[in-house]
């Protein structure tokens, strides 16, 4: 029997094994036979034995005892043994094995072999698994082969050089001269290898990149030749002549043209030609077009070309082939920041892709839709996103919810819409939302004062429907505790009011308290809400007392502590109960009717040592007040992100964080030599100065300083600012809100302005303060800013 049949015989036997155990037995026997054969003297069957071992290895069985045999076979003068030996080396040896060093010498000898096929074996193995030492040793050989050999060897030497450069980047300089001359070859294989090598060299070394920019005209010529050439049977794929080479050249042109005007200009025509002439009905053509689009977007191409590229992507979006739609969305994602308007035109198609069956396409469509959200399309786009959320695959839900929240925060057209959206998300996918959602939503609800009634009605309905979604339940409990009186009143303008009795509300809260589905944090919310209701309802205070005293012996330490403290509130401190449990101060300090927000906050702070307080609300000046002023300017620029200011009781004791922050700020004030400052407002003894701390092309940092020359201190100082539409504003927290009298102290506030479109900066500042029990409010316009001093 001829040996090679025995290999196939063995494969047949192994495949015939009916169970895993039988297969293992067969393989063990064969491996033993192979090992024995390896130990024997050469009998002409070594290569077949190694081949059998390689088959066994592919099935997943250990084959390390074949490594030395590979080394021996590689050293053999026979071609078929070398061939299998090298194959074995590529499969069994890698640079981590010691045996791989032993083949270095064989490779070296074979690189100078008279037969090109032996040379090619050595090149292939070196290019596949050569370690750094081997590469260093053999690099000069490879360089020699790059220059003086036939095209069959040249192309292999080129890719081997690529591997060497990847392993030992310093050797790149060795190959640079040879690779330049390879560009004049006619053979496509060599040309392709040369382009890959040059790409690798340019990516690793900026100087080499500079050098090869001179080769751009040559590359353009080659590319033109490919595009305009007639049918070539050897290289033709679906009507495109050698798409593999075309794509590689385009990729190299991208790297050479990036950030360089001259190179980019040189390729503009070519790219336009390729974009218009390439037939994209089959994948090969689409691949070339895709690479062209990537190149156009990455270099400094002219705007007409960019528009053409985006249109190509738009065409791809309408293609029936899912792969092409996927590719198009990936590319649009890359350019959505820079060419936002162009991508917006295709929004409809992208949103349709959300409904695609394929999970990869859905994911891409989601990313792109979230990137396309803007103030103009927020309502319609949010409808689509919410629809998507109800049917989206589970692995995408968390990402979708956080994307929706971000979009809602930035572009919400009204507070009611914002609250509705968040509630919708919580009911649909409440289990997949971020942790900060609950405090964020609560903060939002408190600011929407007109909507308290509406909100509490909606939340109550949601609560009695389903108490399994923790985030929703927590918010609902908080609201019911806070605004329970509005709920019980039974009237509401915005929505159908519920007619509930106090008992119903308490039942709902008690259900949450007792349910095994509620997490400890949720139960904490429910208990606190029940307690708060004691000041908002009239008849069932005793019921509340009994609930609270029951939980005084709860196993959960947090609940127990709360219950005990609330009990104390009932028994010993009943006179304070109303004050402690009154309505939470709204975060928006400037809204009328809440000037005693400070005092309520103050009283809570005093009680701190004896009572566990509820959420202390930080003065959240920047975000919501700026929203007001932005309306004044008639624009609807993006309101800066409101930072989550609430710390919930669920997370632990709440110290007077408001005071803490102020103290931090005083520590953070810069003490620099005084740059020139401009007085922007002076009235009633209050002076407001502006100085520029830092100024760049696209932004500046300014500090507003307020001083007081009157006899009495100025209190409740707030500064609000508004800027033109495209400018982004961020106001840091002020150093305080009380200006001592007689100029003995000052209040400072830092403002960061980001002006990416470099419009002329103007700012309107509203100053609000209480002086001698008189509330003053003024607005000043600042048209020019002083230059910073350095």
């Amino acid at each position: 029997m001829s040996p090679s049949v025995r290999l196939q015989e063995m494969i047949r036997v192994i495949r015939g094994a009916r169970t895993q155990g039988e297969e293992r037995g067969v393989i063990q026997r064969e491996c033993a036979a192979i090992r024995a054969q390896f130990r024997q003297a050469d009998n002409g069957t070594r290569s077949h034995n190694l081949a059998k071992l390689l088959y066994v290895h592919m099935l997943g069985y250990p084959a390390h005892f074949g490594q030395m045999e590979c080394v021996r076979l590689i050293a053999s003068p026979r071609y078929n043994e070398k061939r299998v030996g090298y194959l074995g080396a590529m499969m069994l040896l890698d640079e981590k094995q010691d045996a791989s060093l032993l083949i270095t010498n064989s490779i070296k000898n074979d690189l100078s072999h008279s037969s090109q096929y032996v040379q090619s074996l050595a090149l292939c193995t070196l290019g596949c698994m050569g370690s750094a030492e081997m590469c260093r040793d053999l690099a000069p050989e490879i360089d020699r082969l790059l220059r003086a050999s036939n095209s069959y060897i040249k192309k292999k030497a080129a890719l081997c050089a690529v591997h060497i450069v990847r392993k030992v980047p310093e050797l790149g300089e060795l190959f640079t001269p040879a690779s330049r001359s390879l560009l004049s070859e006619k053979n496509h294989g060599v040309l392709h290898g040369a382009v890959v090598l040059i790409t690798e060299l340019c990516e690793r070394n900026p100087e080499t990149l500079e050098q090869f920019r001179k080769a751009v005209p040559e590359l353009v010529q080659i590319m033109k030749g490919l595009v305009m050439s007639g049918y070539s049977p050897e290289h033709n794929v679906a009507g495109i002549s050698d798409p593999f080479l075309q794509v590689r050249i385009l990729r190299l042109l991208r790297i050479l043209g990036r950030n360089n005007e001259t190179a980019s200009d040189a390729v503009n025509d070519l790219l336009a030609q390729v974009a218009t002439n390439t037939d994209s009905s089959k994948t090969a053509g689409s691949a070339v077009l895709y690479e062209t689009v990537l190149t156009v977007m990455d270099i400094k191409s002219e705007s007409g070309l960019r528009v053409l590229a985006v249109n190509i992507l738009g065409r791809f979006l309408l293609n029936n082939d899912r792969n092409i739609r996927y590719i198009s969305m990936t590319s649009l994602q890359k350019i959505v920041q820079t060419d936002h308007n162009a991508v917006q035109r295709h929004r409809g198609t992208i949103v349709d892709c959300l409904k695609d069956q394929d999970a990869s396409v859905k994911r891409r469509a989601l990313e792109l839709s979230l990137a396309l959200v803007s103030a103009v399309n927020i309502r319609s786009l949010m409808k689509e996103l919410l629809l998507f959320l109800s049917s989206c695959p589970p692995e995408l839900r968390a990402h979708t919810t956080s994307g929706i929240f971000n979009a809602a925060e930035r572009y919400a057209p009204s507070q009611r819409w914002h609250i509705d959206t968040i509630l919708h998300v919580l009911t649909t996918a409440g289990g997949d939302v971020r942790d900060e959602t609950v405090p964020n939503l609560i903060q939002l609800i408190t600011t929407a004062t007109e909507l308290h009634c509406y909100t509490v009605h909606k939340l109550y309905r949601a609560l009695i429907a389903d108490i399994s979604v923790q985030s929703l339940v927590q918010v609902a409990c908080w609201c019911i505790g806070e605004y329970g009186d509005l709920l019980l009143r039974g009237e509401c303008e915005e929505t159908e009011p519920v007619q509930v009795a106090e008992d119903d509300v308490l039942d709902a809260l008690e259900t949450v308290l007792q349910s095994h589905m509620s997490s400890p944090a949720t139960r904490g919310f429910a208990l606190t809400a029940t307690m708060k209701l004691s000041t908002r309802i009239t008849h069932n205070v005793d019921r509340i007392r009994s609930i609270v005293s029951i939980y005084g012996s709860c196993i959960d330490v947090e609940l127990q502590q709360r219950a005990v403290e609330y009990n104390a509130l009932f028994k010993k401190y009943d006179h304070m109960r109303a004050a402690v449990l009154e309505r939470m101060p709204v975060i928006d300090k400037s809204s009328p009717g809440h000037t005693n927000g400070e005092s309520a906050g103050g009283s809570i702070k005093e009680m701190e040592p004896t009572k566990r307080t509820q959420e202390v609300v930080l003065p959240q000046e920047p975000a919501n007040q700026v929203c007001d002023l932005l309306d004044l300017l008639g624009g609807s620029g993006e309101p800066p992100q409101p930072s989550p200011a609430l710390s919930t009781t669920a997370l632990g004791p709440v110290s007077s964080t408001a005071g803490g922050d102020l103290l931090d700020l005083l520590g953070g004030l810069d003490v620099t030599p005084v740059p020139p400052s401009v007085i922007v407002y002076e009235k009633n003894g209050v002076t407001l100065k502006l100085q520029t701390d830092r100024q760049t092309d696209t932004g500046m940092t300014i500090t507003l300083t307020a001083t007081n020359s009157t006899d009495r201190e100025i209190t409740s100082l707030t500064l609000q600012a508004a800027v033109p539409k495209s400018v982004q504003l961020q106001m840091k927290a002020p150093s305080g809100d009380v200006i001592p009298a007689h100029g003995l102290g000052q209040v400072t506030q830092t403002v960061l302005l980001n002006n990416p479109n470099k419009v002329s900066l103007k700012m309107r500042v509203r100053v609000c303060y209480t002086s001698q029990d008189f509330v003053c409010q003024d607005t000043v316009q600042i048209d020019s800013f002083p230059s910073p001093a350095w």
Binding site: L123, K156, L159, R166, S360
Partner: protein, 154 residues
Amino acid sequence: MLRFLLLFSRQGKLRLQKWFTPVTEREKKKVIREMTLMVLARPPCSCNFLHWRDLKIVYKRYASLYFCCGLEDQDNELLTLEVLHRYVELLDKYFGNVCELDIIFNFEKAYFILDEFLMGGEILETSKTAVGIAMEEAETLQETMEEYMSKPTY
């Protein structure tokens, strides 16, 4: 560059593996397992592209074999589909109407063809005919050698 190329059957049996970067045996097994799980779980008419760790995965099914490869960020996925198709064409030309059994029983030939087409994760030869010619010439070299098998090496 391609990081790896795997061929496996509908039952998840590996028929060919080519790794273009040094990978430990354990890691190889892990990757193979994850690839087979991911690709075999895909419904029939899905997109051929996936995302896994930091790689793009391109796969295509030809009859009973799945061809699956891992790409780096800069690589062109559509072109890789063409690469896979070209490899299948080369196998078809060499074996004459190739089927899975051909690749099972002549796996070393499949590797040799692959080594004439790809090297170091990059395309080596773009001409359809050149690979076939190289294989033929290497075969003649092999036969001549086998005739002189009687001479021992050492």
